[in-house]
């Protein structure tokens, strides 16, 4: 309705109103447009399928449109619209629709969608954690707690000799005892703690030793992940694969013993989803042991990503079947837990009551609201038949609950209820902040009527933002925003960059995330601080590779802050990981860098190229610089519509080579950093290197606007336009004026979207 009404006004003005008495140029512009442009762009600039399908809207200044039309349009014969005509038609386009994206906006509201894969996995894990304990690390001491024993006969823990914290498990005791004074021949070591990986995905764990060992990861009371207690003293490596959710801690224990074997050594390694096998670094290990979590090991088909964020809008049999198996796994897990819980007291009526209460809580948490007695009756109580064992009943309840649309469609109540109530707000808050569901604490607040005032809900949102699940989700957003979704590391030519190893690439990636995490969560930094990146977290390997002195008193694997001026870097876009990722194996790639900087750092809009032309280094004179090569490649006028922006920003970073090292020349020629940059208002500026890009980004609300839109889509899985209380322009102004830092921004977006349509009580 809204759209057709707007169109009516538009027609009125264009057909009858404006035409009659406005400037004659508009009339001529209009007829020119109709004759020469409409064929591909549509009569009203709406686009034409198979020609130029997108609406003619954008952020170019008029001058640039004129110049562009003059040089390139119409593309079948650019001579047709030159000089004055180019000016007229451009003005028509500019004034009639180019600056009015709202004309083309489809009516948007929150769409019903199922849980995305991430939401599904997180919700399952948190649901079970209510009963098994939320894994939380309070005491952030890195490493594992090691207990060292002398063994005797069958008793591997005869006498404890020593206790210490070990940063990593990488020991070669040879034919010696681990600690002086311990028995050389027979000893055992028990390591315990937690592991908190950063990324989500499949992890492979490896233990290598000639001695006996058993490893448990995320398994408190069941089979060991790896059981290799029996050995004839031969060196072997055994591995096991586990799917883990990033940003959550899992309990880890490693039992190790030597019994008369000639040698003793042990290594604990992993291969992360990025594929590099390494000794598990200290930063992911913690001495505190947490509860285990239920993490489904089922592979799920990927979610729809057509709009640049994951959405649960696809339902098909592959997905349904994968989810069914995950749910069966969960049901079996629940049955196992319950049978252990009531072991030996199965026929005690109190136990039955206890299990029914567990089932009721489970359903309430999964459905994100309190159920009526009638609902509880058919969902829970009817499944507790006196003849059925309790663990079988709980299995049925879990199976039904997790297959129910009430669990799988987290916002169905929001759409079903005309008046949004506290449970809608709570479930949205948990969904947007964590990709999960409300915990019992929130349910209790709702029951007590303490989830109705602005301050109450805001307090809750603030607390939730400081939870590691919010940090994990923000990290997941960064992966998307920084184009780091692909589970692979940048690789470089071994001839040209022999020392750029996968290990270094992995260190660099960790450096980038550690740096950002520090800014966002520790220093409560603003968007400006994020772009400015005043200090970089480097370990010894990175520091040395990039020619910096690493403090001698620090551990080689520790990350240390280096001030940006000290290492001659100017902003996020000059982090070596980003530079290396946006490069070829042998050369820098001004195009990749330019696209990244234009879109993300400067917040500019770029259309996908009409025609994909790939860069091939061998097509060019080898003595040329990258700037010369790219300039030649993108010279055709229809390339330049986007490439003058891409090239100008990309060339600004030519002072860094393919691994992100600073350079002053290439092929014996000095690097020319001087570029002309035209901003979105058509002002042309002279830029000289990356600091100019940074200044440009910090002097406009554009970058924060585009960042906000991306962030919002990621957290709500809906575009910001679907919510009436999300004012992107206003919020980006707040960001620009440093009135809101990034973690507050994250909280605020979730808070606003969650309380949409809710009437607070004063």
């Amino acid at each position: 309705m809204k759209i057709s009404f707007l169109w009516a006004i538009f027609f009125f003005f264009t057909e009858f109103g404006l035409q009659g008495w406005s400037s004659p140029s508009l009339v001529t512009g209009k007829s020119l447009y109709a004759n020469q442009c409409a064929e591909c762009h549509g009569e009203r600039g709406q686009g034409v399928e198979d020609e130029y399908s997108k609406p003619l809207v954008g952020d170019w200044p008029l001058e640039k449109i004129i110049r562009y039309v003059d040089k390139t349009m119409p593309d079948y014969d650019p001579k047709l619209t030159k000089g004055k005509n180019a000016e007229l038609v451009s003005k028509f386009i500019f004034e009639s629709f180019y600056q009015k994206p709202e004309l083309f906006q489809k009516d948007s509201k929150v769409q019903l969608s199922r849980l995305t894969n991430r939401q599904f996995r997180q919700s399952l894990a948190d649901l079970f954690s209510h009963f098994e304990g939320q894994p939380k690390i309070q005491n952030r001491v890195h490493g594992l707690r090691g207990k060292y024993y002398n063994a005797k006969g069958m008793n591997k823990k005869k006498t404890i000799k020593h206790e210490q914290i070990d940063g990593k498990i990488d020991f070669n005791f040879k034919d010696q005892a681990p600690i002086q004074g311990m028995d050389v021949k027979k000893f055992s070591i028990y390591w315990e703690g937690s592991i908190k990986p950063r990324e989500t995905g499949w992890y492979e764990f490896f233990v290598q030793s000639p001695n006996g060992f058993s490893l448990r990861i995320n398994q408190n009371d069941s089979l060991p992940t790896i059981d290799e207690k029996v050995t004839a003293g031969m060196m072997r490596e055994v591995s096991a694969k586990l799917f883990l959710l990033g940003g959550r801690p899992y309990p880890l224990s490693l039992e190790y013993f030597k019994f008369d074997d000639p040698n003793a050594s042990i290594e604990l390694k992993w291969k992360t989803p990025l594929g590099e096998k390494e000794i598990i670094p200290k930063e992911f290990l913690f001495t505190e042991k947490v509860s285990s979590s239920f993490i489904t090991q089922q592979n799920l088909p990927p979610d729809d990503y057509s709009q640049g964020f994951e959405r649960g809008i696809q339902i098909d049999d592959t997905w349904d079947e994968a989810v069914t198996f995950a749910v069966l796994e969960a049901a079996e897990h629940a049955a196992g837990k319950v049978s252990r819980l009531i072991r030996g007291r199965e026929n005690d009526p109190d136990q039955r009551e206890k299990v029914v209460a567990i089932a009721e809580d489970f359903v309430r948490l999964a459905f994100r609201e309190k159920l009526s007695q009638e609902e509880l009756e058919w969902i829970v109580h009817r499944k507790f038949n006196p003849k059925t064992p309790l663990h079988t009943s709980i299995e049925k309840v879990v199976l039904f609950t997790l297959k129910s649309p009430r669990f799988l469609y987290p916002e169905w109540q929001a759409l079903a209820k005309d008046t949004k109530d506290s449970s809608v707000v709570a479930s949205r808050l948990a969904l947007y902040l964590w990709d999960s569901l409300p915990d019992m604490n929130m349910h209790d607040l709702i029951d007590r009527g303490q989830f109705i005032k602005v301050s109450q809900i805001e307090d809750q949102a603030k607390q939730m933002t400081m939870d590691s699940r919010a940090k994990a989700k923000f990290h997941d957003f960064l992966l998307h925003w920084l184009d780091m979704n692909a589970e692979e590391l940048p690789t470089k030519s071994t001839q040209k960059y022999p020392d750029f190893s996968p290990t270094l690439a992995l260190d660099l990636r960790r450096s980038l995330f550690r740096t950002i995490e520090k800014i966002v969560w520790e220093k409560k930094g603003h968007f400006e601080d994020f772009l400015r990146m005043e200090s970089f977290e480097f370990n010894q390997a990175i520091a040395e590779y990039y020619g910096m002195q690493f403090p001698k008193e620090k551990n080689a694997t520790d990350f240390v802050s280096f001030h940006s001026s000290q290492i001659k870097r100017q902003g996020l876009h000059t982090h070596p990981y980003l530079l290396a990722s946006h490069s070829y194996a042998e050369e820098s790639s001004p195009i990749h860098r330019g696209v990244f900087v234009s879109r993300k750092i400067l917040g500019r809009t770029l259309r996908p190229p009409k025609e994909a032309i790939s860069f091939s280094n061998s097509d060019f004179n080898p003595s040329w610089t990258m700037r010369q090569k790219v300039s030649t490649l993108t010279k055709p006028a229809n390339c330049m519509s986007c490439h003058d922006l891409i090239n100008s920003t990309g060339f600004s970073l030519e002072g860094f080579d393919a691994v992100g090292k600073a350079r002053e020349e290439m092929n014996g020629k000095p690097i020319n950093l001087m570029v002309k940059y035209m901003d979105e208002e058509g002002n042309e500026n002279q830029f000289h290197g990356p600091s100019y890009l940074l200044d440009q980004a910090l002097n406009s609300t554009k970058p924060s606007e585009s960042f906000l839109e991306d962030l919002f889509k990621h957290l709500a899985k809906q575009p910001a336009q679907s919510y009436s209380n999300i004012e992107i322009a206003e919020l980006s102004k707040m960001i620009f004026q440093r009135k809101i830092n990034l973690s507050e921004l994250y909280m605020k977006l979730c808070f606003l979207a969650s309380t949409e349509g809710f009437s607070f009580q004063r």
Binding site: G153, M154, L223, V230, D320, T392
Partner: protein, 437 residues
């Protein structure tokens, strides 16, 4: 067309895959196997026996059934009781370890790091076990090849992996883990039939829930939910029709739901595993099976026999402790009863496509890792052979004249047409296979 689309067009989704992918013989010609089928079952119970209540005094056809062997009396004519047969494998490991891990391998254990109650520490055995050897032999020939070759069932087998708990080995240092849980065995044999049934049991509730939720949503928001509820219907249709079981000779046994793998449930677990074992034989999934009760040093508390003490602890008691003695007799008799249940099933099932009963085509061996619990001896290891599958001269007890048990293992191989010169430690194979004809 890839495999997945092909399967889809056949109406089979990944839920039915486990069955299909494991069934190369499913559509094979039934007549190609003309020579009589031969099968081997090794049943193990731990901690030695009570010799006086076990071994018949008389040698020959009129041997008597003492208390422990009483339940096997109906099978007298199909029994072969081997006396004076010893496990003479020496080397590392205590007697329980060697008793268990050398029982079917007939070879020493590697020196290693597992310290037992005596002797030196050890690791895994240095060779393959006879059940796997025979299964490999069967699998190497088209006429005797089956889907699984060998199946290993456990009753009350704990989650530990050590030389006390494993008796079958793929090869040196390669223990075979038995299915301790009948539900796991079921899944391996018949695919996700049970899971489908579980899902089906909630589908009616789900359908009404989808309708309830859809009714509460505005018209415009229902599209995705309607699409989704069609999948629930699809699942109902597909899961109702368990086509993956259509080509079986017999349907899998009905497993009661919810039996936990625990000490108190051993009697039920035992029967479930035996039912699955026989069923898998009828369907010709395997020609070799093991049935392992607990483990060497097993501590089952057989409260269903009114025994509260743990089995291994009891087995250490001296013979003069009459209470312990009586309890051990009851425990071992219970094992014999379970064996009788298995034998009866085999005897009452006609051999599919061939003459006689299944027991006529099967040899069941009941054995133990020790001769006697309180002495920990590896001499006089119980070996009771029942069934006509291996062409031995049955219906008698036989004096083996101080033979090594390696010789018995050899004769098993010979009986299936696999004339090995030695098995396990060659020096223990002198005099060749036992003459059981």
């Amino acid at each position: 067309m890839n495999r997945r689309t092909a399967l889809k067009q056949l109406g089979l989704s990944s839920l039915s895959l486990p069955i299909l992918s494991q069934s190369p013989t499913l559509f094979a010609e039934a007549n190609s196997k003309v020579s009589p089928k031969q099968r081997l079952v090794v049943m193990f119970s731990p901690n030695g026996t009570i010799s006086e209540e076990f071994w018949p005094e008389r040698i020959g056809e009129d041997f008597e059934h003492k208390r422990i062997l009483k339940p096997l009396e109906p099978f007298h004519d199909k029994m072969l009781v081997l006396r004076d047969l010893h496990n003479k494998v020496k080397g590392d490991g205590d007697n329980h370890m060697r008793g268990m891990s050398c029982l079917l391998t007939g070879i020493e254990l590697f020196p290693g790091n597992v310290m037992g109650g005596g002797n030196t520490p050890s690791g895994w055995p240095k060779g393959i076990s006879i059940d796997r050897e025979i299964s490999n032999f069967f699998q190497s020939k088209e006429s005797t090849r089956t889907r699984h070759g060998a199946l290993h069932f456990g009753v009350g087998v704990k989650d530990t992996s050590d030389p006390w708990t494993r008796m079958s080995y793929h090869g040196p240092n390669q223990p075979v883990t038995p299915f301790a849980d009948p539900y796991d065995a079921y899944r391996r044999l018949y695919g996700n039939v049970r899971e489908k049934k579980k899902v089906r049991s909630v589908l009616d509730d789900l359908k009404s829930d989808f309708a309830k939720v859809a009714n509460r949503l505005p018209e415009s928001d229902r599209k995705l939910l309607i699409e989704h509820s069609k999948l629930v219907d699809r699942m109902e249709n597909e899961y109702a029709n368990s086509s993956s079981l259509d080509n079986l000779m017999v349907k899998p046994p009905e497993l009661p739901e919810g039996i936990l793998n625990r000490n108190d449930n051993l009697p039920q677990l035992s029967r479930l595993q035996i039912d699955l074992l026989v069923n898998s034989f009828i369907n010709d999934f395997a020609r070799v099976a093991t049935l392992q009760y607990t483990k060497s040093v097993g501590q089952a508390k057989m409260n269903w026999l009114d025994i509260d003490d743990a089995h291994h602890t009891l087995s250490h008691e001296p013979d003069k402790n009459k209470d312990a003695y009586e309890k051990l007799v009851r425990i071992n008799t219970w094992f014999a009863e379970e064996l009788a249940y298995l034998l009866k099933k085999l005897e009452s099932t006609p051999e599919p496509g061939q003459k006689g009963s299944m027991l006529d085509h099967t040899l069941v061996i009941w054995t133990n890792e020790l001769g006697k619990g309180n002495s920990h001896t590896l001499d006089n290891i119980p070996f009771i052979l029942i069934g006509n599958g291996f062409g031995f001269n049955m219906g008698r007890s036989m004096w083996c004249e101080n033979s090594t048990h390696n010789r018995l293992l050899l004769s098993l191989a010979h009986a299936v047409g696999h004339p090995l010169k030695t098995f396990g430690n060659p020096t223990l194979c002198k005099r060749g296979p036992l003459d059981l004809s």
